[in-house]
Amino acid sequence: MTVPALQLEHVSKVIGGLTILEDISLTVQPGERRAVIGPNGAGKTTLLNVIAGFLPATQGRVVVFGRDVTKLPAHRRVDVGLLKTNQQPAVFHELTTRQNVLIALLRGRHPLLGLGGLVERDRETQRRAEQVLEEWGLLDVADVEVRHLPHGYQRRVELAARFALRPKLLLLDEPAAGLAVDEIPAFIERLKQLPRDMTIVLVEHSMRVVFSFADRITVLHHGAILADGTPEEIQNNEEVQAAYLAGAMRGRDAGAA
């Protein structure tokens, strides 16, 4: 039996007396592409933050590759291979593209919290950064401060920095948000090309992205799981239709087409 990439066991999150997540249990297999959808305020982003460790779970357990990480702070969960992207690309605006990649690559490479080295002397990491930049088509903007780059490029910088760390479980929080409509097909292609040894949990509003990418879909509604299944099952689920999907599909695709 393979160890699941991610297991949530009866996870709840209460913030200020308000239940954001209620008794969430789900299992994601290694290599799976799982989408989490639901209307605004359903708790999707909170769910990702609980998994990544930015918010502690009020109740329940979070297990990543068989390891209980419920009590671990966010930065320690990176050691298990877990990384998350942000709705607003999680990049450092005053740093250059290169420095954004370097900061990811340099993590833990030098002793004494990095005091035992100089960035410019670490030729090997510099070379790796150069490779990453080339791989992601970012060489042209390598020495430009990220705040000067358009949104799509910032997203690419964010992903490049995270992939440089070779995540095993990647949480994507609305990666297509803010992309222009004509950028989305290329973006879907890019997602599809990601290696299968990487497990992906995706929160996304664009149904085009979700239905062309996900193996399984979990529907959140008012902080609880409304349905869970293959894209076909979800599409034909009447409860989901009523609660969310019909409206979302109509609204989104009308706008997107």
Partner: protein
């Protein structure tokens, strides 16, 4: 890459010239300017240590004088009660500053921004209260006078005492500044900038951000205590003024004026503030007012500090050139066009 290499050569040349001038200063300057220069060196170290927190990590400390004062009182007490030699006393001063940082860090680092500012301010006020009230040991508001100024033995008799202490300061500050240069150019220094930019994003990349801030706070405390110890020797005196938050505020002005988060900015800030104090005060009592005007102009015209002046001039010249070549409506049109090419966006911003 080539342009970068050339700029690096220039920078090396400037640093080399500066170093030569600093070494030759006692031969070139009379006693009084030399002692002003000594003070500038000490405050350069103080401002650079604050810059680790304020400029790199984005932690606005208004309590940095707590470490400066701790270093000063460590030197003062050791000199008065034990007659400890300067080298050892300065080491103990640094250790004392580090200890104060180790103890206070967990309290102040629970907060960010304005709350961090207030907590560090209260910290320095607590220490101020202790030295003010504990008259028997600290001398209260009289402070501890008569701290003997150390000399480099090898140079005694060959140069003046002022020049001797100047060289001592130059060596100590030089080593400390080199250490700070190492820190900010290490992966640790890059991570501190990441904290300033977005602590949560950095944590998401697997960095233990709290520990990084704590270590930065401790290092900054150690360097500030070293500056404080040197200053006590320089003045031959340590008093509550050296631990007062006003001094922390002055440090903050130096850092922001020169350029927070840049390596040389704080040195330029220290130079400017002290020159204003000593040169302008020769003409008018209102040097603080002049400093205020300089500060306002600086924030309006050079919000990123004086050290960015050359870059700012280049930007303004580039903008002027663009405005004259492009007719305004055309410029408007290109800006509005849905052109997503990177070069355009960079140029526009």
């Amino acid at each position: 890459m080539n342009a970068l290499a050339i700029r690096r050569q220039w920078r090396l040349a400037i640093v080399a010239v500066l170093a030569v001038l600093l070494v030759l200063a006692p031969a070139l300057l009379p006693t009084y300017p030399l002692s002003v220069l000594t003070e500038i060196l000490i405050f350069t170290l103080f401002a650079m240590s604050l810059n680790i927190l304020l400029g790199y990590a984005g932690l606005p400390s208004l309590g940095h004088s707590a470490f400066f004062g701790t270093g000063g009182y460590a030197v003062g007490l050791l000199a008065k009660y034990y007659g400890t030699p300067a080298a050892l006393a300065l080491v103990i001063a640094v250790v004392a500053g580090i200890l104060v940082a180790i103890v206070t860090g967990p309290f102040v680092l629970r907060t960010h921004g304005a709350y961090f500012l207030i907590l560090t301010l209260s910290l320095t006020q607590v220490l101020f209260g202790i030295v003010w009230l504990w008259r028997k040991v600290t001398g209260g508001d009289d402070g501890l006078p008569g701290i003997p100024s150390p000399r480099i033995p090898f140079l005694v008799g060959r140069i003046s005492d002022t020049a001797n202490f100047y060289y001592l300061t130059l060596i100590v500050v030089g080593i400390a500044v080199a250490a700070i240069a190492w820190i900010v150019r290490s992966p640790f220094g890059l991570a501190l900038v990441g904290i300033r930019e977005n602590e949560r994003y950095l944590e998401g990349l697997g960095y233990p951000t709290w520990t990084l801030k704590y270590v930065a706070y401790i290092l900054a405390g150690g360097f500030a205590a070293l500056a404080g110890g040197l200053f006590a020797y320089f003045k031959g005196f340590v008093g509550p003024g050296q631990i007062s938050w006003l001094l922390a505020g002055e440090g903050m002005v130096m850092v922001i004026l020169g350029g927070a988060g840049t390596f040389w900015g704080p040195a330029i800030g220290a130079l400017l503030v002290l020159l204003l104090r000593y040169e302008v005060s020769a003409f008018t009592q209102r040097w603080v007012m002049i400093l205020g005007i300089v500060f306002i102009l600086n924030v309006l015209l050079l919000p990123q500090g004086i050290v960015r002046l050359p870059q700012r001039i280049r930007e303004i010249r580039a903008r002027l050139r663009r405005e004259t070549t492009l007719a305004p409506p055309l410029a408007e049109a290109t800006a509005a066009a849905p052109d997503r090419s990177v070069e355009r966006v960079i140029e526009r911003s």
